[in-house]
Symmetry: C2
Subunit: 395 residues, 2 copies
């Protein structure tokens, strides 16, 4: 069986159907780390930040957070003062049921925007959910935060950090790939490495920049997006040296990228994952911009749906922002490993063969700019009838 977050010592989680969703699916999850050593979060930059995020930011600002309550089916967004009161009450009730302080509880919501949380349902649900809070049901928690997601998204990676074997486990949700909004992106990670909150905060920002923030231009801008990371501190030696931090960052980034790819592959209506590698840019910043412009182009996304090595669309998307330099005469481009352009010239290629290579679930597109050392990877999905169907009727 695949490992999940509750395979980490001292980490408890679970999920139930509380009745927030009309369809009876799981909709209320918790994560509980009684002996939590450090915690940190990264949040949406949207002006319309939702009340649960305000509560969670407040909690993280006051010390280490030990528990998370997350619901799906209702985003508690654009709900004003009532929404804030409801988010606070959720944290308070969960705290009393867990025997911890309200400011030690983070809350997260995802689902429909602009409706108040059904608090009677939430209260009753919390009492059921936390009756025995020492469950090891990480997978049920992962299920309970899904909305339009078709697949559950879990990760568990292990590596060497500061000479110790440590792990990072976690789960995530998100499937609105182009401009998430109803389909919030949430990510929750736990490590048994001993990392303090300050270090977690700076490393999480960097890990998120190279993972969740590269799945779509807009993933960092939904009203409810958040990624949290917790340290149990179970492995005794603190991650303090520069090298240990680098090693931990690499492991955390790996975990985040795994979840980010699962999210991209599960984009609404998606039939395939597209992985855009940009290298040779003038800077990493420009490489990111270009990779995102390519992954977000609806014309590239539809071409990918048709397994079409449409280099014209990729180049047009790559070159569209004058702030990120692309020299048409220096570009190398491959689809699914097959070269179609070298130094700006079309390479003779067997179109049918490349179409076959592209007719798979994961298609890498590599763009080398021959201008510098900047590189970045972005993940996305194709654009299909399914996307239109889901979003026309989602209400």
């Amino acid at each position: 069986m695949k490992k999940t977050v509750t395979n980490l010592k001292g980490v408890y989680a679970g999920g139930i159907s509380a009745g927030i969703k009309a369809n009876g699916k799981k909709d209320l999850a918790y994560l509980f780390i009684p002996g939590c050593y450090g915690s940190a979060g990264v949040f949406t930059k949207s002006a319309f930040i939702a009340p649960p995020l305000i509560v969670t930011q407040g909690a993280l600002g006051q010390g280490t957070v030990k528990a998370l309550i997350a619901n799906s089916g209702n985003a508690n967004a654009a709900t004003g003062k009532t929404g804030l009161r409801d988010a606070k009450e959720t944290a308070r009730l969960a705290a009393s049921l867990l025997g911890i302080k309200p400011r030690e509880v983070a809350v997260a919501s995802t689902g429909i925007i602009g409706k108040f949380l059904p608090m009677d349902t939430v209260r009753a649900g919390l009492r059921t959910l936390l009756r025995n809070p020492l469950k090891r049901d990480g997978t049920r928690a992962a299920q309970a935060i899904m909305t339009t997601d078709l697949t559950r998204k879990e990760v568990f990676v292990t590596g060497s950090v500061g000479g110790q074997r440590v792990s990072v486990g976690g789960f995530a949700k998100g499937s609105g790939m182009i401009a998430p909004n109803m389909a919030t992106m949430l990510g929750f990670l736990v490590t048994d490495a001993k990392v303090d909150s300050t270090t977690l905060r700076s490393l999480l920002r960097r890990a998120v920049d190279d993972s969740f923030n590269m799945t779509s231009v807009d993933t960092d801008t939904s009203t409810n997006d958040m990624v949290l990371v917790f340290s149990t501190g179970a492995k005794g030696k603190r991650v303090a040296s520069a090298q240990a931090k680098r090693e931990f960052l690499a492991l955390l980034t790996k975990a985040c990228q795994h979840l980010a790819k699962l999210i991209a592959a599960d984009g609404e209506g998606a039939t395939k994952l597209i992985e855009v590698h940009v290298s040779g840019a003038r800077s990493q910043r420009e490489a990111r911009m270009i990779a995102k412009n390519v992954i977000n182009s609806p014309l590239v996304k539809t071409a990918m749906h048709g397994a079409d090595p449409n280099w014209g669309r990729v180049l047009a998307a790559a070159g569209k922002d004058p702030a990120a330099k692309v020299d048409p005469k220096r570009v190398d481009l491959t689809f699914a490993g097959a070269p179609v352009m070298r130094r700006g010239q079309v390479v003779p290629h067997d179109r049918k063969r490349i179409r076959r290579l592209m007719s798979v679930r994961e298609v890498p597109v590599r763009l080398h700019l021959n201008l510098g050392d900047g590189s970045a990877v972005a993940w996305g999905c194709d654009l299909t009838h399914g996307y239109v169907d889901i979003n026309v009727s989602y209400n």
Copy 2:
């Protein structure tokens, strides 16, 4: 009958099927203003600027341009040195047939990217097209630049400028609404007002910023986008005073907006035009950014397709860029004239009635931010199965 560009004195135009398009439709157009007084252009900012644009920029830089040759069916983009040679030869041959200098001819191309122009076809086509270059077939010219466009796009407006009645006529093409590329945006305008090239240049930039550049975030970035304006100078008094310039700018902007709306309404697969008005922003710049973010949100576009007054999606899109301020507590929002939000609070509304109001060909969305005096309008279309179909198979 509706007026077209050739209703202006001294303006000649026509269009034929030269055989560049495989389907036998019109694909070669000309515009000829033998006594042209002034000319100017605005061009794509894409790094992958196509050869015809380089030739046209060069011509405009050397003096007044008197003629335009435009073809559809082939963009002559990403064609390198061969493409540049072909564009130059097109201008040279047209010049010799018209009895003017090569540097007095602008060229424009739209259609598939990455294939060389079929020059034998182009040469033979030009000879037919320009056999009698004093035709008054503005409408045929408008037809001959269409690609995936379903409708012809022409404009003719008249107004008072510096105490004289003057007109602006023109035509345009473009239908790939989200991220044009194969579907280049072209606009050609002619006025009988006497406006010199320098003035035309600065006013055209401003008119385009408030029209074509507001139809989609990406219209200004396709490899082949260009808008040209010509002055016949037929109306004797030169547009020189600040007031006359303002008046002319208003008329030119009106003409450009008319064409821009036709382009937005004819977006690939579109069933309706969406007009997003943002007012009360801190600045015009921020109003533009916000209007574009709303009009470009795939979630807003799909909601519009479903006649869904989904204010959550509009707000999420409006608030997504921290650089453009939105205060959630101050926002007023209407769909098709019906208020759904006032000062950030949802207004009780009859959802079914609003859905009926939105089930029309043109839907205005008004967002008032109550922060300042900045305002902007952006035009776009809904996102449908049709868009996916067109772009999966377009190759």
